[in-house]
């Protein structure tokens, strides 16, 4: 592949050939895909992207994956190119004139942004000749790895913490992977998987294929800029778990500027985390590059990584861009899931509640001004985590099938002030 030179260590710059490895042998720094930007620049253009498929593969020239001879992606055909919604109602509620929602709750095929990263990682797994893919997951990644393994005719081993939401377990098992429930937190599952990955020759999408996997996250940034009419927004609020998504969205805007796809400009990046698991936001607030790991305690399980791999880089990306970060309390998370649904008709998972709540705090604190284009990233569907809302929501009224009974019920609801 002419545009990919190999891998390079982000810390010490050592080079490695393209292969399923993720840390530098010398300094343990993360490896990243090393592109030949000249070759990329010679090929890519707005027109070429616009003529491409309505999926992440319209940016194939910017990804480390080779399409098949007839231009098809190896796996994950419909991933990405999700709606960028002009959120007038939520904007009015929060006091923002130009608010947009990047809505990955409808990403194909498993309703989270993980379909982007997994499509790229599983494509590389096939290219490297693996017969098994695997992951450590808090749910969304599990769904996506199991689904894409099915599509790619690969075996799948999925490792999850035992306390995962039932919806996410079922939505993984249906694809028939080997599902290993580990008695521990995500961080413990992840540590176990690092050791498993060292021992078994499997393609762990978020471990030994991590340099490629992470590249899929850039497509969120590419899409935001293209959908805004080929310009980057002034502010982007991103939920953080491992921290890679925030880092890669910032990277995407820089790449597009370098390639002449969008005008030069600065996008401030903001991290959103739950108060019960917010080590990256804590770094930003304390302005320190030392990550203090935490034991997660939050309903936002898809963000419950107490020892985030890209924490340091997410901190740097937020600081360097002039952005910031905010925590959301458990009550705010649920309230803001409801706020998003009530104002925009979008049912996001708990992480979406975190993002909306953090955005509201950032606006109230004057960090995000009211008159500049702002994008918030919704990364997964609420239908996977409805449990957190069960106690808060109830049927308005239950009646017999008789018009007179309905008339009376309606009058009662109105008199109680339940409806306008």
């Amino acid at each position: 592949m002419d545009r990919v030179k190999g891998l390079t260590c982000r810390e010490c710059g050592r080079s490695y050939p393209s292969s399923p490895i993720h840390v530098c042998e010398f300094c343990f720094g993360p490896l990243e895909v090393d592109y030949d930007h000249g070759a990329m620049r010679a090929r890519v253009s707005r027109a070429r992207i616009e003529a491409g498929p309505r999926s992440i593969w319209r940016y194939a020239d910017l990804l480390p994956v080779e399409l098949t001879a007839d231009g098809e992606p190896p796996v994950g055909q419909a991933a990405g190119f999700t709606p960028l919604v002009r959120a007038r109602n939520l904007g009015e509620e929060l006091g923002l004139e130009q608010l947009y929602i990047k809505n990955d709750s409808v990403c194909h095929p498993t309703w989270s942004f993980k379909d982007r990263v997994v499509s790229v990682a599983v494509a590389k797994a096939k290219e490297f000749g693996f017969d098994t893919v695997a992951c450590a997951s808090t749910g969304n990644l599990a769904n996506s790895v199991a689904a894409h393994a099915a599509e790619a005719h690969l075996k799948a081993y999925v490792f999850i913490p035992t306390d995962l939401e039932q919806g996410k377990i079922t939505a993984t098992l249906v694809y028939d992977p080997v599902l290993v429930a580990v008695q521990g937190t995500y961080d413990e599952v992840n540590r176990l998987c690092s050791e498993v990955a060292d021992k078994y020759r499997w393609a762990f999408v978020n471990i030994n294929l991590r340099p490629y996997y992470g590249e899929g996250s850039k497509t969120v940034g590419y899409e935001i800029a293209e959908q805004l009419g080929w310009r980057a927004p002034a502010h982007v609020v991103v939920p953080c778990a491992g921290g890679a998504l925030l880092t890669k969205i910032a990277r995407a805007f820089h790449e597009m500027q370098d390639l002449g796809l969008i005008p030069a400009g600065r996008t401030k990046m903001y991290a959103a985390q739950a108060l019960g698991c917010g080590p990256i936001v804590t770094m930003i607030k304390n302005d320190t590059d030392v990550l203090v790991p935490v034991k997660p305690n939050t309903i936002a399980k898809s963000l419950a990584i107490g020892n985030p791999a890209d924490g340091y880089y997410a901190y740097r990306a937020a600081k360097d861009s002039g952005g910031y970060g905010e925590h959301a309390t458990e009550d705010e998370i649920v309230e803001c899931m409801q706020l998003l649904a009530r104002t925009e008709g979008i049912f996001a998972e708990t992480a979406g509640g975190v993002t909306v709540a953090a955005t509201r705090r950032l606006i109230e604190a004057g960090r995000i001004p009211r008159d500049e284009p702002t994008v918030i990233c919704i990364t997964g569907s609420g239908l996977k985590t409805p449990d957190v809302l069960h106690d808060r929501l109830s049927v308005s009224v239950t009646i017999r099938p008789q018009l007179s009974v309905f008339d009376q019920a309606l009058a009662d609801l109105k008199s109680k002030g339940d409806i306008a």
Partner: protein, 92 residues
């Protein structure tokens, strides 16, 4: 005190390919010194010039990250295992 130490792939060139070695010492810091005696060059790969554990290395005693214990001063007892694991992994 003798404990089992798990060595990640990138460091096995220093341990003649061994994935597990025995280390002796009362604390994690002692173990690192002992590993250096057995496998010269290993310490520099784990610890920076200031003597701190490198940013991209995590060390676990049994199942616990030593940052939740007492760091390099974490004490060990017979039968404990120490895992050296690259920090860069994961993502939901």
């Amino acid at each position: 005190m003798s404990v089992l130490v798990r060595i990640p792939t990138p460091l096995r060139s220093l341990t003649k390919g061994a994935a597990e070695v025995q280390g002796s010492g009362d604390t994690v810091g002692d173990i690192i010194q002992d590993l250096e005696r057995q496998f010269p060059g290993l310490r520099d790969r784990l610890v920076d010039e200031g003597g701190d554990l490198r940013r991209f290395i995590n060390i676990y005693v049994n199942e616990e990250d030593i940052r939740f214990l007492e760091g390099a001063k974490t004490t060990l007892k017979t039968g404990d295992s120490v895992s050296i694991v690259p920090a860069i992994a994961g993502g939901r």
